[in-house]
């Protein structure tokens, strides 16, 4: 053999020498292929990975291309620099009036997500039929065709057996293309079970503004015109929402306004505040009503909004009832009722005892806040509201805006501006009898039951109870789920007490997960479908608001495709519909054919056209000059796509005064709106409202159920065994829970105050740590009544004594190579949800994340 080798080397060397001497004169070789040809077609070039042609030329090579970031729910409009089809850097889209050319640190991590070698690259199927945390799924690659055929067969089986309600769609991060897969597909197949992640996100926060001013949504805050900004468990310089915008203008806000922040932990925003109020977790409601008490007793309410005593004499005297007849309200309702039932005794001294804050600070903050009226923001974050008894706290915090007239006002709290995107075609004509029957069944999350009112926008049983779906599935109550599709969610990591999800998902006989990265959730799937990355690879749009504007920002495929992925909300449902049609059920496919390109009137012929046409269809009013309704004007689709974002008209201040979407049309301090909603729920169950309050773990009885008020928090764990209250918070670098496989996440983790690079620390006040003999760097365990996690101790004065703060985001046991220390066995850091019990703010359906559990610290 060696001879052979030597001979070969010599041959080529000789050949080259000879031809060099004789140049072009050497005898042409024979064209016979000789004995060495072992593969067929030895004479013909046969390629399987490469092909003739030059690298597909992406329009905008070496250009800033428009994009949208969904790393958090700020939904900023971005631009990405693309060279040769590759994304290399990121900046804010200068055309957006919402994030005004700014982007935040997390947007850059999108690049590492995009080019993560651990991404899901091709469809895969499970080959180990056993499901469980300790069962390797043994996924193997399959074709799209095989994956889609399998899914279609499973759906057809449900249809054949008249049990389409046993189909379930779970939604995580979505764009507004969502209704195709979430609403239309689920309805036409015939299931009531489209379950959103929303209740893990913020619904209790929306409760506060809905039952005071009739607005179920995120607010925007006019910070540059504000003179006082009072934040409650919100950290806009780090997390949710409009982080880019607020980070950009915060310097101006700090210059013009006094900033106070209520938060047990020194957050990024707290480091820039004038007043830090490190409250005892869960007692925000006491502080809110004490501030309201001061505002009224000192006569600091904004009279053009609230009104005044007829004779101008302030009767709000501590401890004294007020005759309702003496006060003439203008745009608000029930201020005297609120005073009489809740506020009259809630002095700063009373609140100081409960909240652990200083009475003088409470008075000072309340007074300065009132003096800044109406340019005084009370900014409700998830902290005070996403608690078991957080619904009324949310109302109390938001109601302060009502007292100072900041609602809908300059320098105050605003809603979303009007935008003009359209709805997708109606599915009604395609919902057949089987589907109609299936749709009528109760939902798997058990919303609307006595203990789960979930009263979104005043309608009992209308809000999703995401985390409880796991219990519904496990207990088969109301029935079993047989076929489920989920996209861009990871409930087996992101939901409190995630082990319930492991159990629930193991129980579903056929689960498909559509995702960019296989996660803890995917571990239990039968089929995995690779998803496009929202920021670089997908057609879609989202809308958000800040700075007095709303924008609609586009997602577009702007990079050269790397792997064999398809888009969750459009392409994949189209392909499933196609397969269903081939099996004799073509309703969904015929429905999708109605999503015609508004420019040409043509129906889509394939999934790619469907993705684009449905986007053009939904946004036509924004880009088609013939349909113009307001805001930015474009010449046509190309013009809109090139710019990447549409901006609304400026905010119409005070337009809603007297026209709010409450029962009374006014800002309600006594919520007739909530009264009606609770009444409806009580009536549905044949009980009294007091019984509803009891079933939902609230202490309020009688009139208190309709009034913003303080309730003692419901915190799991006794103080003796669990001496500290757990404080969960979010990182500046969290792209939801999906940053853990990016090195930059760990490199820069110390930009979160108190945190450390390449570590996951629980922050403990030195006063608490020393008696336990714990030092910074010690490996520790946090143990709650429902679970435990491992992390590192960090002694830090930035947490209130008696609390332990830890950031959410790490602790993955299955999310790529870097995300776990030892894949499948040892997570990197700890997942906060492992210690957070599955508890709810039941009126909104929200999961409780804050002030919900006590923990103890164990040295490892």
């Amino acid at each position: 053999m060696k001879n052979n080798k030597k001979k070969r080397k010599t041959m080529m060397a000789d050949f080259l020498k000879n031809v060099k001497l004789s140049r072009r004169t050497f005898v042409k070789a024979s064209v016979t292929t000789g004995a060495a040809v072992v593969f067929s077609n030895g004479l013909k070039l046969e390629m399987k990975a490469l092909a003739a042609g030059t690298a597909s030329s992406i329009e905008g090579m070496g250009k800033w291309m428009p994009a949208t970031c969904q790393g958090c729910t700020s939904w900023c409009s971005l631009q990405v620099y693309i060279i040769d089809g590759r994304a290399v850097k990121v900046r804010g889209n200068p055309h957006s009036k919402v994030n005004v050319g700014a982007c935040c640190p997390r947007s850059h991590l999108g690049l590492q997500q995009l080019y993560d070698p651990d991404r899901l690259k091709v469809p895969m199927k499970r080959t180990n039929p056993k499901k469980g945390r300790h069962e390797d799924p043994k996924f193997v690659p399959i074709s799209w065709d095989e994956a889609l055929n399998t899914i279609a067969d499973k759906i057809m089986e449900l249809r054949k057996n008249n049990e389409t309600h046993k189909y379930m769609l779970m939604r995580g991060r979505y764009s507004y293309m969502r209704d195709i897969i979430y609403d239309r597909m689920t309805k036409i197949i015939g299931s009531p079970n489209n379950i959103s992640h929303s209740a893990l996100c913020a619904e209790a926060e929306k409760f506060g503004s809905f039952y005071t001013e009739g607005y179920w949504g995120y607010r925007q805050y006019d910070v540059t015109n504000a003179r006082y900004i009072l934040l409650w468990g919100a950290d806009p310089l780090s997390a949710n929402r409009q982080v880019s915008y607020y980070s950009k203008v915060w310097g101006d806000a700090v210059d013009r306004a006094t900033i106070a922040i209520v938060e047990p932990r020194l957050s990024a925003t707290a480091t820039k505040a004038d007043e830090w109020m490190p409250i005892k977790p869960g007692h925000d409601g006491a502080l809110a009503v004490a501030i309201a008490h001061v505002l009224l007793t000192k006569g600091l309410w904004f009279k053009p909004f609230v009104g005044d005593f007829a004779d101008g004499l302030n009767r709000f005297v501590p401890g004294q009832m007020v005759d309702e007849e003496t006060f003439e309200e203008i745009h608000t309702y029930g201020v005297v009722k609120w005073w009489n039932h809740e506020l009259k005794d809630k002095t700063p001294e009373w609140a100081a005892k409960i909240t652990g804050l200083d009475a003088a600070q409470i008075k000072r903050v309340a007074t300065d806040y009132g003096k800044a009226a109406p340019h005084a923001i009370s900014w409700l974050g998830g902290g005070p509201s996403m608690q078991v008894r957080g619904g009324f706290t949310g109302m109390a915090v938001h109601a302060l805006n009502g007292i100072v007239g900041a609602v809908d006002n300059e320098g105050g709290t605003l809603l979303a501006n009007k935008e003009y995107t359209g709805k997708f075609p109606k599915p009604d004509n395609f919902i057949d009898d089987i589907a109609k029957k299936g749709k009528k069944q109760k939902k798997i999350d058990q919303r609307g039951r006595l203990q789960f009112p979930c009263i979104k926008k005043g309608k009992p049983g209308s809000a999703v109870l995401t985390n409880n779906s796991a219990d519904g599935i496990i207990k088969e109550d109301p029935y079993d789920i047989k076929v489920a599709i989920a996209y861009m969610n990871n409930f087996a990591f992101s939901a409190p007490q995630p082990e319930r999800w492991e159990q629930a998902l193991s129980k579903i006989p056929f689960l498909t997960h559509i995702t960019t990265n296989a996660s803890e959730f995917s571990w239990f799937a039968d089929i995995l479908l690779p998803d496009s990355h929202h920021m670089f690879e997908k057609w879609g749009y989202v809308k958000s608001h800040a700075n007095g504007y709303r924008h609609v920002t586009l997602m577009q495929p702007i990079v050269k495709q790397t792997y064999d992925y398809k888009t969750d909300e459009t392409e994949i449902p189209w392909l499933i519909a196609e397969k269903l049609a081939k099996r004799g059920f073509d309703n969904l496919f015929r429905h999708f054919k109605e999503y015609k390109d508004p420019a040409t009137g043509e129906a889509p012929k394939n999934e790619k056209e469907f993705a684009l046409y449905s986007l053009k269809y939904a946004t036509q009013n924004l880009w088609d000059p013939a349909k113009y309704k307001g805001g930015d004007k474009f010449k046509g689709w190309e013009d809109f796509a090139k710019t990447g974002v549409w901006n609304s008209n400026p905010y119409p201040f005070r337009k809603r005064w007297g026209k709010m979407k409450t029962k009374t049309k006014k800002f309600e301090f006594y919520s007739e709106t909530l009264k009606a909603a609770l009444g409806k729920h009580a009536e549905n169950h044949g009980v009294t409202i007091n019984e509803v309050m009891k079933a939902t773990n609230y202490l309020a009885r009688g009139e208190m159920a309709f009034i913003p008020h303080y309730e003692e928090p419901f915190i799991l764990g006794d103080e003796r065994n669990y001496p500290f209250v757990h404080v969960d918070h979010k990182s500046r670098l969290n792209r939801e829970g999906r940053s853990a496989n990016c090195t930059w996440y760990y490199d820069f983790k110390d930009i979160d105050p108190g945190d450390e690079a390449w570590d996951d620390v629980a922050k403990i006040n030195p006063v608490d740590a020393r008696p336990l003999g714990i030092k910074s760097g010690d490996p520790i365990k946090l143990v709650s009544p429902t679970g435990s996690l491992s992390c590192t101790a960090k002694l830090w004065e930035g947490v209130r004594p008696g609390t332990v703060a830890k950031c959410y985001g790490q602790g993955h046991w299955a999310y790529g190579r870097l995300a776990s220390k030892d894949f499948g066995k040892v997570p990197r850091g700890g997942n906060n949800n492992d210690i957070i019990p599955a508890q709810y703010e039941a009126l909104s359906g929200s999961s409780a994340y804050y002030g919900v559990t006590r923990v103890r610290v164990e040295k490892v």
């Binding site: 053999m1 001879n3 052979n4 080798k5 070969r8 041959m11 080529m12 060397a13 000789d14 050949f15 080259l16 000879n18 031809v19 060099k20 072009r24 042409k28 070789a29 024979s30 064209v31 016979t32 000789g34 004995a35 060495a36 072992v38 593969f39 030895g42 390629m47 399987k48 990975a49 490469l50 092909a51 003739a52 030059t54 690298a55 597909s56 590492q112 080019y115 993560d116 070698p117 651990d118 991404r119 899901l120 895969m124 080959t127 043994k138 996924f139 193997v140 690659p141 296989a518 995917s522 995995l528 790397t562 792997y563 064999d564 090195t743 299955a814 790529g816 190579r817 870097l818 776990s820």
Partner: protein, 223 residues
Amino acid sequence: MDVDKLLTQEFARRDAYKGLSDCYKLPEEELINTLEGLERVFETLGSEARSHIALVRSEIKGREDVDDLKVDYARLFVGPYNLLAPPYGSVYLEGERKVMGDSTMDIQKRYAEVGLTTAEFFKEIPDHIRAELEFMYFLIFKEIEAIQEGSFENVSGFLLKQRSFLQDHLAIWVKGLAQNIEVHSQKNFYRGVAMATRIFISEDFSEIAELDISEPTAAVSLG
């Protein structure tokens, strides 16, 4: 000199790259044919890689299917979780765990220089091991054409391209890939394939590195 004999060797080199490229596809029944062919070309070349291929071939010979290899294949080269042997050049060459790095762009440029790109149906990135092995197959294919056509400039040109490609890319990172496969493979199969790949490329590179190849006087014709 006997050009036919030289061609026999070059065909074998060419087919060795092609056969190896096919070994990194999702394993299907045709794999056994690929291994048979590979064994023969390694025989022709006198490569030390032959014995490794012979061993893995005997292991899967006579099987009805190769499905059990798929799980190992996925764990090593696809994921979806803890991708154990990322089949991408940039992961090894750039020291960061990412794809589409500068080295990937360089590969893309080299493909474009000879009128190639990754195929639409390939759905992978340009520096995937399959594409790089196939690129060598292509360059040798073109080199053989040049020999047959008597175009000296093109022979030198394609040999130089092979050398610089091996030197800057494949011959470097294939070692890291093979090491990952050897450490993490649960089956002997991929361990054998990895060893064969590493050995053959190292042999081929050392030979081509020693050749005295003149710069072509004109641009390589892609005819």
